[in-house]
């Protein structure tokens, strides 16, 4: 029998372009992209995400992006909060410190995918993790690549290591 409780794990998906990508992507990129996805994992009553400052957390739906566009249920986990925080701290010190943020290769969705697998064994939907490669496959994406690489998304929340 499970001694530990089951904690539900959800994936919050935000469209950072607020619908503009859906409209403008055929025009600008030549292919249809339904959104510029930012994701966060919600577990233990908090939302966790990886941004330019590192791993941050906030109350669910508490970033300036507001409420998520969609929520995916990833199942549940036995991992209790303290263990999870240790895991996150460890991640934040290594692969997910602030300076490791890269808009294409190592972004919020990479983080969400990894944490989702840790917590539940499930990956996040592939249309999200495939987004960077889709953009880079277009000439526009290639042209803007140096610029986009310099973008670091900082939608707020608090860094879990306490640093800013």
């Amino acid at each position: 029998m499970d001694q530990h409780d089951c904690y539900p794990v959800k994936l919050y998906i935000y469209d950072m372009s607020r619908g503009m990508a859906r409209q403008l992507s055929p025009l600008m990129l030549g292919r249809q992209l339904d959104g510029v996805w930012h994701t966060a994992i919600v577990v233990h009553g908090k939302e966790f995400f990886f941004v330019g400052e590192g791993v941050n957390n906030c109350p669910p739906g508490g970033t300036p992006l507001g409420e998520p566009d969609s929520i995916v249920d990833l199942g549940s986990t036995e991992v209790p909060e303290d263990l999870f925080m240790e895991y996150l701290l460890s991640l934040a010190e290594s692969a997910y410190s602030g300076d490791k943020y890269n808009l294409f290769e190592h972004n919020c969705n990479t983080f969400s995918d990894e944490v989702a697998q840790f917590l539940t064994g499930e990956k996040i939907p592939s249309y999200i993790t495939d987004l960077p490669s889709e953009v880079l496959a277009t000439p526009f994406g290639q042209a803007l690549r140096p610029l986009l690489e310099s973008i670091v998304i900082n939608p707020g929340g608090n860094n879990i290591t306490g640093k800013r």
Binding site: D2, Q3, H4, V9, M16, S17, R18, G19, M20, R22, Q23, L27, M28, V36, H44, N57, C58, P59, G62, T63, P64, L65, G66, G75, S76, T77, E78, V79, E81, D82, L83, M85, E86, Y87, L89, S90, L91, E93, S94, A95, Q117, F118, L119, T120, G121, L144, L147, S150, I151, V152, N154, P155, G156, G157, N158, I160, G162, R164
Partner: protein
């Protein structure tokens, strides 16, 4: 101690323990390699946040055995290891196969560090929240440190930015809230302190940008008298209307200056009317009556003072006015730090910053919101005829266009991207318009010259990229006459 790496037929699983060569293990079968032939060996990847190793283990091994192997590889004590697979924590008594761990799969490992496990483990959650409360995320103004007062308003977050965010959201969805907030004596106290208000407003990065571009605003903010006046006004809607009327009266005096009436009229129909109607329509109806040229309703009675109260774009008192200068800390839709809107001073800002202000008005904001919720609207909007002139002016004035786009949260806080976009904007805007739109004036000219075949004109213009003379050459060359 040496470990045996090959199965030793003299040992068996669960059976008699034979002494390993040089090993001194306590009494269980410590070899992870199955000596007997029942279990196959599987390779399982063990992943920590920092590291990852592939470990070969018997398919039917127990979690304990697995942990022993892991503790060797990762140089950690067994009781520090926590294994997680498919969301479940692997307990020592379980077996790997019970959890479905097969060859090639990944198991997650967390190595509890001793001191962290004690105080950091269970209290890390609470300590991180206390640091949240301690260092607020943005440079919050000094006087705002005690948030417990506002928590009484129903927003209990300890973080300034979240508070701001939540307030904004709630305000946008519930206008009565604003009036409630205004009535709260704490808020009123706060607002009567101009320094505090100024600090709060200046803490907003968008406001800072706005101020950089428009030094008049910073002057305004720095004038305590003005700030106080503004805050009085924000609190007291009757007084605000009074002020508006005063300014309207002043404006109507302008009419007596030759040419003044036309200037006023132009100002009104081009700028203010769309804004007013947009704000009025905010709660539901057709957003496009806002941008359209409702020139009928815009016709002012000539030469007489307009005695009717002009529509208050901010609706009934205190409703839906999230962007009032000095109002509740909303931040991002700040049209102004100070003066009131009226006909004479449409956006409450110095006319120098007029262009920017327009797109920050609450009406426009809600329009943008509606558009983003219904992308079809955007298509329609782009192809509508009255948009054409706006787009043209936008494309001729990249500064203006850039300011429109800057409000998008995607760009906020990233000056590099803004610069890039600014330079690319003319290109972008060209593309966003159809050729017909772009060449409208040239088309008109051609038609006036006698080239009545619009299609051919358009083709020629497209081919020559808008060059009228070259287009004429083309047309003449292709025409039989």
């Amino acid at each position: 101690m040496t470990r045996k790496l090959t199965p030793d037929p003299s040992c068996s699983i669960g059976g008699i323990k034979m002494a390993d060569q040089g090993a001194a293990d306590p009494g269980n079968n410590n070899n992870n390699k199955p000596e007997a032939s029942d279990g196959t060996i599987i390779k399982v990847t063990v992943k920590t946040p920092k590291d990852k190793e592939e470990i070969a283990i018997a398919e039917d091994a127990s979690v304990t055995q697995f942990k022993e192997e892991i503790s060797r590889r990762f140089k950690a004590k067994q009781d520090q290891l926590v294994l997680i697979f498919a969301g479940k924590i692997l307990k020592d008594g379980d077996s790997l196969s019970q959890h479905g761990i097969k060859d090639g799969l990944t198991v997650h490992l967390v190595i509890k560090t001793a001191h962290k496990a004690g105080d950091g483990g269970s209290t890390s959650a609470s300590s991180s929240t206390s640091t949240q409360a301690g260092n607020t995320s943005t440079s919050s103004p000094a006087g705002f440190g005690d948030l417990s007062g506002l928590a009484g308003l129903g927003m209990g977050s300890a973080n300034f930015m979240e508070l701001q965010q939540q307030m904004q959201r709630q305000l946008m969805s519930n206008p009565e809230m604003l009036s409630q907030i205004m009535e709260n004596p704490l808020v009123q106290n706060m607002m009567s302190n101009p320094d505090l208000m100024r600090q709060m407003i200046m803490a907003n990065p968008q406001m800072q940008q706005l101020m950089e571009r428009n030094p008049e605003i910073s002057h305004m903010l720095n004038n305590p008298e003005l700030m106080r006046q503004t805050m009085e006004l924000a609190r007291n809607p009757a007084m605000m209307q009074e002020m508006m009327r005063n300014q309207d009266r002043a404006l109507s005096n302008l009419e007596s200056i030759p040419g003044g009436y036309n200037a006023l009229r132009r100002m009104y129909t081009d700028i203010q009317e769309p804004m007013f109607s947009a704000a009025r329509e905010q709660f539901g109806n057709n957003p496009f009556s806002a941008l359209g040229g409702n020139s009928e309703s815009g016709a002012q009675p000539s030469r007489t003072e307009n005695r009717e109260p002009l529509p208050n774009p901010w609706g009934p008192p205190n409703s839906s006015s999230p962007a009032e200068g000095g109002g509740a800390p909303t931040g991002s839709t700040s049209t102004t730090g100070g003066t009131n809107p009226s006909v004479s001073n449409p956006l409450g800002v110095n006319p120098g910053s007029l262009g920017n202000g327009m797109f920050n008005s609450p009406g426009m904001q809600s329009l943008m919101q509606q558009i983003s919720e219904n992308p079809q609207l955007m298509q329609n909007m782009l192809s509508a005829p009255y948009m054409r002139s706006m787009m043209q002016s936008l494309s001729q004035n990249p500064e203006l266009a850039s300011q429109v786009l800057m409000n998008n949260p995607l760009f906020a806080g990233n000056p590099q991207l803004q610069d890039q976009f600014r330079s690319q904007l003319p290109v972008f805007l060209q593309q966003a318009q159809t050729p017909e739109v772009r060449f409208q004036s040239q088309l008109d000219q051609l038609t006036a010259m006698g080239f009545i075949n619009r299609e051919a004109n358009l083709q020629a213009l497209i081919a020559t990229g808008g060059d009228i003379n070259a287009a004429i050459e083309r047309l003449l060359g292709s025409q039989p006459s």
